[in-house]
């Protein structure tokens, strides 16, 4: 029994059907961690991109160092760091929050590169027209450059969304009850790993297929909003 739901070990099928609701609870945690981690990656990555594009080296250089560090160290180390070291400085976050934060921070290093490439691909003439019209730097970035970079950014971000989803099982090491962790517990208690792990694989397949389809829909939808994908 887990989460108050009992399993039925009378047959393989009965077992699968009985543990499905338990795994779905774990899947819901996986989805939440993915969405929160992705959101953090999108927001923080944009901040890194803006800082790295700053004309002042005092600003751009530290941002470049931090993102390089985030990219070049394993997620597990960052996760342990946030989980075991932060409390020593009096910052204690719930395991789930710590996990989502670690995912978001590591992926912010990748998304910042996506933003940078997308932003740099916007024609120089767009900056010049904005300057000639006396638009402020902030307005130029948010309303002229970024909207044109987004169609170039979306497909790559979609890939990272799927990657984050597939990295969520790592959070089990800091006790987050995401889907794989739930399956392992069921296996430990029933000595049947095959069924729960197969189900997790199938559910993961469904999640990534749905996410990929969503990204593709967005790819098709954006150009129709007057943002040509060129």
């Amino acid at each position: 029994m887990l989460f108050g739901i009992a399993w039925d070990t009378s047959s393989g099928w009965a077992f699968a059907v009985s543990i499905l609701p338990i795994l779905l609870i774990g899947m819901w945690v996986t989805i939440q961690a993915t969405v929160l981690g992705f959101f953090i990656a999108l927001v923080v990555g944009l901040v890194w991109a803006a800082l790295k594009a700053a004309p002042l080296k005092i600003i751009s250089w530290p941002a470049a160092v931090v993102t390089e560090f985030l990219r070049d160290t394993p997620l597990l180390i960052q996760l342990f760091f946030l989980y075991y070291v932060l409390p020593e400085f009096g910052i204690t976050l719930p395991a789930f929050m710590t996990g989502a934060l670690a995912l978001g921070l590591q992926y912010s290093a990748y998304t910042s590169e996506v933003y940078r490439a997308g932003i740099e691909a916007v024609a120089k003439g767009q900056h010049e027209a904005a300057r000639a019209l006396n638009l402020s730097g902030g307005r130029t970035f948010s309303h002229i450059i970024l909207p044109q970079a987004i169609p170039r950014i979306v497909p790559a971000m979609g890939n990272y969304l799927v990657s984050i989803m597939k990295d969520v099982p790592l959070l089990s090491v800091v006790t987050v009850l995401e889907m794989l962790n739930v399956a392992r517990i069921i296996g430990d208690r029933t000595f049947n790993y095959l069924v729960p792990l197969s189900l997790v694989g199938a559910l993961y397949l469904i999640m990534t297929l749905v996410a990929s389809a969503g990204v593709r829909l967005l790819d098709n939808w954006l150009p129709k909003q007057g943002i040509p994908l060129k």
């Binding site: 024609a123 003439g125 767009q126 010049e128 027209a129 300057r131 000639a132 019209l133 006396n134 638009l135 402020s136 307005r139 309303h143 002229i144 909207p147 044109q148 909003q225 007057g226 943002i227 040509p228």
Partner: protein, 259 residues
């Protein structure tokens, strides 16, 4: 047209790395004057306009617009220091630019292209900006295209939007950098018509870099022939086009007219 210069280049130097593009250029434009700049590719024509639009800085000399230094600020003791962004923002309000590649904002409707800066920079209400935008579209003959996106328009129509967008900021000086060079030949006329109309009806000061010699002759008060970052020859269009003094001008005109 009054006699005071609204634009003045005083021994202006512009370099790109080792390449000196403008070498102590002296150049003046009077208020309301329509000046065409002609000359071979690479002679520094665009650079002159881009310096005025504050898209390129200068390495020496002084550029004055409306009596005030453009790239410098006068300190309390009267000495000139490099201009701050605030100063450049203030100076920029006098100028507008029409680009060779139009540079319209592709994700905004035609009307939004025109109203964005008046709302954000001049602080017009959306309603006022829209009304003015529609008047300007009327002026350039595109009243029925307001809700289209740039990629739905022909090149000639896009450039006319570019002109309306620049006019919406109510500049005193309008800079045209080869406004018809990116257009198919059959679309050049509609853009030149609009520019010609502006030249006739407005007291705008206009600087036009162009290869359209016949048009330059019609609309300009003065034509400047640029060569290697200097004004090799300048004068009234009827003189310069029919009887240039310099051999270099003659060669250039010959080459262009043969095309």
């Amino acid at each position: 047209m009054s006699d005071e210069p609204i634009i003045k280049f005083d021994k202006v130097v512009k370099r790109f790395g080792d390449l000196t593009v403008l070498n102590e250029l002296d150049f003046e434009v009077k208020k309301g004057e329509k000046v065409s700049i002609i000359g071979p590719s690479g002679s520094g024509k665009s650079t002159v306009l881009r310096i005025l639009m504050t898209l390129e800085d200068i390495n020496g000399g002084v550029v004055t617009v409306g009596g005030e230094p453009l790239w410098h600020e006068k300190g309390p003791d009267g000495s000139l220091a490099p201009a701050s962004e605030t100063h450049l923002r203030k100076m920029r309000t006098q100028l507008g630019m029409v680009f060779q590649q139009f540079n319209l904002f592709p994700h905004m409707t035609v009307l939004r292209n025109i109203t964005e800066a008046p709302v954000q920079v001049l602080g017009l209400s959306k309603q006022e900006a829209k009304q003015r935008g529609e008047e300007l579209l009327e002026l350039v003959g595109l009243a029925d295209q307001a809700q289209k996106y740039p990629h739905q328009l022909s090149g000639g129509q896009q450039q006319r939007v570019g002109i309306a967008r620049a006019l919406a900021m109510r500049p005193n000086i309008l800079l045209f950098d080869e406004p018809t060079s990116a257009l198919d030949p059959e679309l050049v006329g509609e853009v030149l018509n609009v520019i010609g109309k502006l030249a006739e009806e407005h007291d705008l000061t206009m600087l036009l870099v162009t290869h359209e010699m016949r048009f330059a002759r019609e609309v300009s008060d003065r034509v400047c022939f640029f060569d290697q970052g200097r004004i090799r020859e300048e004068g009234a269009p009827e003189d310069l086009f029919t009887d240039p003094n310099e051999e270099r001008t003659r060669e250039f005109l010959q080459a262009v007219l043969d095309n």
